[in-house]
Subunit: 202 residues, 2 copies
Amino acid sequence: MARTAKHSKEELRDMALTAARAVIAEKGSRNLNVRAVATRMGYSVGTMYNIFEGLEELVAWLNAETLDALYEELARAPVTGKPETDLHSLLDRYLDFVTANRQGWNMLFEERPPEAKAPPAWYLEKVAQVFTLLGRMLHPLFAPGEEAELTRAVHLLWISLHGLWSLDADDKLFIVTRDPLEKTAHDMVDLYLAGLKARKGH
Amino acid sequence: MARTAKHSKEELRDMALTAARAVIAEKGSRNLNVRAVATRMGYSVGTMYNIFEGLEELVAWLNAETLDALYEELARAPVTGKPETDLHSLLDRYLDFVTANRQGWNMLFEERPPEAKAPPAWYLEKVAQVFTLLGRMLHPLFAPGEEAELTRAVHLLWISLHGLWSLDADDKLFIVTRDPLEKTAHDMVDLYLAGLKARKGH
DNA sequence: TACGTATATGAACAACGTTCAATTATCAGA
DNA sequence: TCTGATAATTGAACGTTGTTCATATACGTA
């Protein structure tokens, strides 16, 4: 009883996300804008606002995809039970992902809350997923009943790594050190594990 | 032999920076723009471009001031020779500064290089200054001849803390932990020191 | 007083995100 | 087959940006 849609809402969203990635690949994420995406997907500006609340929501969807792809990659890391081995191999997956998905990875760090606006629930869940992975790997270092310490340890490690990723994404890591990202990452985990073991031994 | 300036270039720059801080205090850093600053200092838009290359340079000057103020605060921290004591008291200065200069502090983390544009030399120097402070405090934990290890340790600590500051500035720390910034910061330093001591003890 | 020039202006431009009245294309019923 | 209702799509237009630059201004000097 009405005009039929050429594409479903999901199709449109997929098309928009694909178009957006193409724009980013060609012009860089700084030049991602509504008109460019609309043109690229063969629709008008207005249609973008039928699909998304605005540009920020489109970016949020892009980041959601990136986080999913990251988790998929990380989840493949083997868990042998030896924290050193496991953490370092997890780190290698991180690093592989970063080099293979530079643009999308960097966009994660460009996202900024417009005001004091809480991130959606799914975002928290995706981050929590990664915590779970880290927790599994660090588990052997803690005695039963030390769950709180384990959780805190995971958080601290994640925050430290975030510092590294964040500097790298902003191309500012070289300000701190000339060592390559990989070396710094592994060094950080080593020092971190040394700290955890020292606590355990006492 | 010409029209005399009401204010010297330095005066104008100071007025602009003051005006900018006022705008930020009132409307938030998101609403900092050339016209608002110009109006506030009683000049026109064009004058802004006689003083600065553009808005980004104005922000860079603001950040330079913030970094100077931070260093001044940090440099006051006493160096007793006990790394735990010294690092924790340095941390308290950090935290005091953050709460006292929220807006300016947050702007440091909003600055993003437009492209692959190297930051000015003075920026690198200001960061290096902080490294020097950290290095002095960690010095007792290293034997003579271990300068390279000391340097790397300083970098790793700084990067880890950067992760924490960065999350806090973006109001995203709560995603990781519900613990307050202060507790997380001190925990991070504790774990870090434990790792360093473990390495020292072999 | 008139000229030259450093200083200051603000209209104008391009690009942006966003809105929404108008247009289009389809289907259901007459 | 025609018509009206309705959902999908459009793109002109608005407001706000950063930035430019021809113009106006006001002062020291001749």
